[in-house]
Assembly symmetry: C2
Homo-oligomer: 215 residues x 2
């Protein structure tokens, strides 16, 4: 007859266990990591490139790029002079901690202060997976409309910072900025919201200075 | 000792079995169903509203709306006078056949010729799930950039029609239309591509007339 053994420790999932290892590795090297989430085409890579440019000679930035296929974004980051590893998920709709673990092994962590982990473009799945990052952020963009917090609330709840990108397009679209701000605040009272344009550069300084101080 | 029994029939997954039932139900009522897929904010509901408006008094359109939360889109469709059912997936990143089955039970199928099933805004997960539709389509939109076929190929491969929405924004963005067309054709040689703007109405007629004839 089997003996019943009480389970007294929380058993982490395989993903969460490896995420914890990733965080330990990052901490050991003094690297602060951000999980960057957004819809496809919201401007994740554009914001990372703007941030690299603005913090050059002050903060050493590394990048992990996640996409189903291709290396378009990794090539752009490499051209900007930052160490970068591309992860291709095949059909996978989000990054997971084992994928990030293998990418970390290929990055010069001793030469990196700040790591951006650019997730697969998707407003749903990435929000539920711990990669070992310290902070989560999301980028909304004006063309996707101001109603996204209502339709995709999960991601808005979990992030530590919001960026609203492509504010230069507001004159050409029916985007209600006040309605967007209210919908964001109904889900997340704390995370700051930076409204900017990666194309024109408007508002990028405020984001970069906040990021630099938030470590 | 167990007897080995050869498996001679393809065993459908629970989803595919219910998808087949949905298709039978639709066929029995003469309803042609389209699974409409796209990123968040690409203009799925806007295209559906434009199509309802253009085909009024000629084709009776019904709609199933899929979102994680809320009923923003269903309210818009109802205001346009079309029968509509909203599905909320909670955290789910795509619709599935059982959800559509329950929605079909709440629609007046005998009064519908054409059914749009608007999937959750997501370029990844919806492409792998049969809902019982007859055709799949996707809407790309200019602000998400011309490189999406390279990064999210799976969906581009499986669809029967493409719409590129928001062409009115091309003057304000670095969108390379030729590069987009080439990348689409590298993945899918057959599905027609309609370039239009739901905002201005440009190009909508060609889409609507093709849709009407494609039954």
């Amino acid at each position: 007859m089997p003996t019943e053994i009480p389970v007294v420790e929380k058993i982490l999932s395989a993903n969460d266990r490896i995420a914890a290892e990733n965080r330990q590795l990052l901490d050991a090297h003094g690297v602060v990591a951000w999980n960057v989430m957004a819809s496809p085409g919201a401007g994740k890579t554009s914001l990372i490139l703007r941030t690299i440019e603005a913090l050059r000679d002050r903060v050493r930035i590394g990048v992990i790029e996640g996409d189903l296929a291709g290396r378009v974004d990794a090539d752009k980051v490499a051209a900007a002079g930052a160490p970068v590893v591309q992860i291709n998920t095949g059909g996978g709709c989000h990054l997971d901690a084992p994928q990030v673990q293998s990418a970390l092994a290929r990055l010069p962590l001793e030469e990196i202060d700040l790591l951006f982990i650019e997730n697969v473009g998707n407003l749903v799945c990435p929000s539920g997976w711990d990669l070992g990052e310290h902070y989560k952020m999301m980028i909304a963009h004006v063309p996707e409309g101001h109603d996204k917090p209502i339709k995709y609330p999960n991601m808005f709840v979990v992030v530590d910072a919001f960026v609203l990108n492509k504010i230069d397009l507001i004159p050409y679209l029916d985007f209600d900025t006040d309605a967007f701000r209210r919908a964001v605040r109904a889900l997340n009272a704390k995370a700051p919201l930076f409204e900017l344009s990666c194309k024109t550069g408007e508002g990028v300084d405020a984001w970069v200075e906040w990021l630099r101080s938030h470590r």
